[in-house]
């Protein structure tokens, strides 16, 4: 029970992720099969659908934009500020900050992570590990969107009695970029909304909100 309490946030969002994927699989299958039946084409089973490029691209295009959102948010909040937002650092702390503030070098603590105490390239790498990991996952999932998207697009092309596209043609195709941009715009909107709304609105008890009684003008203070 203690473990559940300590890991509750991860457990809850993992459960939501699984539930949403199941919902996406079932509704996506129903939608695909309806169109296939109308066209006199073979239907898919659930197993075939969740291993299909159609399902893969629908998942990957959402994942890549989420990780891009986090990557940009992590990086831009190092150097950019928003007065009054708990999502922002205080304006006088922009940049990579001092070793003392970051608890590295001679300011490392006894229980600091191993690579912090090791110093050298390990410290430099660990200091950027969150951004690098988000970037890697973003690039991999965007690549997955590209590969799966071309396959799904070409299946549609063949169903429409058209020639499939090669890799270069798909990289320039409206389908790839439309999928990309429609996901990116929603992610950037979400971040911008959160940054601004959290200046003036509150959610008592959430670390994503300023304390209820905190003035609107105070920056980088969370509940």
């Amino acid at each position: 029970m203690k473990r559940v309490r300590e890991q509750g946030l991860t457990l809850a969002f993992t459960a939501l992720l699984v539930a949403a994927l199941v919902g996406q699989a079932l509704t996506g299958l129903a939608s695909y099969n309806r169109q296939a039946a109308d066209a006199g084409l073979p239907l898919m089973t659930l197993l075939r659908y969740v291993t299909s490029s159609q399902f893969a691209v629908d998942v990957a295009e959402n994942w890549q934009s989420e990780y891009l959102q986090f990557l940009l948010f992590i990086l831009l909040t190092v150097w950019l500020a928003q007065k009054g937002s708990p999502e922002s650092k205080p304006l006088d702390t922009l940049g990579r900050e001092s070793d003392k503030d970051q608890k590295v070098g001679r300011y490392a603590q006894r229980d600091s992570p191993t690579w912090v105490k090791a110093g050298g390239w390990r410290l430099r790498l660990f200091s950027r590990s969150l951004g690098l990991t988000m970037a890697a996952i973003f690039l991999l999932s965007w690549l997955a969107q590209f590969i799966a998207g071309r396959s799904a697009y070409n299946a549609d092309q063949i169903q429409d009695l058209k020639a499939p596209l090669d890799w270069a043609a798909y990289a320039a195709a409206p389908d790839f970029w439309n999928r990309t941009f429609q996901n990116w715009q929603s992610e950037f909107l979400a971040v911008a909304s959160m940054v601004v709304l959290s200046i003036y609105l509150r959610e008592r008890g959430s670390p994503e909100s300023k304390p209820v009684g905190q003035p609107h003008g105070s920056t980088g203070v969370d509940g």
Binding site: G40, M44, T51, S52, L140, A144, A148, A163
Partner: protein, 135 residues
């Protein structure tokens, strides 16, 4: 356990995407090509066998417009197709280019079936013009 979990998840995801998206999956490509060549070889000599290789909607369209399938398929003026030039397979859909024809196929429970035949390319990104196709 955590150190193993992330690379394992990423590897599984990579295999899943690649497996789902191979455009030239050899067994599927071979089977699609075999269905296409069986169809083209049967049109004149064994029209009933060729009809059995048509997708249901394509066969229905042929019978609605030309009467019994075996006669209608011989009257469709399909070209003598020649050897296989290339095969593109994406999931349950395939396009087989032959020397003198292009066929479109779909994979049903009973195997690959021809959805369109006697197809010639049109101008950029327009559908092929096909002698035989579904509605």
């Amino acid at each position: 356990m955590t150190r193993l979990r992330v690379p394992t998840v990423l590897a599984v995801c990579a295999c899943w995407v690649l497996a789902a998206c191979s455009g030239d999956s050899s067994p599927a490509a071979t089977a699609a090509a075999r269905a296409a060549t069986s169809f083209t070889a049967s049109v004149d000599a064994q029209p009933e066998a060729a009809c059995a290789l048509l997708a249901p909607q394509t066969r229905q369209e042929l019978e609605d417009s030309s009467g019994p399938c075996a006669q209608g398929i011989k009257d469709a003026n399909l070209p003598s197709a020649g050897r296989v030039i290339s095969v593109d397979v994406y999931g349950q859909d395939a396009m087989v280019r032959l020397e003198h024809d292009t066929l479109f196929l779909a994979r049903f429970g009973s195997g690959w079936r021809v959805t369109a035949a006697g197809c010639t390319p049109q101008e950029q990104d327009r559908p092929f013009s096909c002698e035989l196709k579904g509605a």
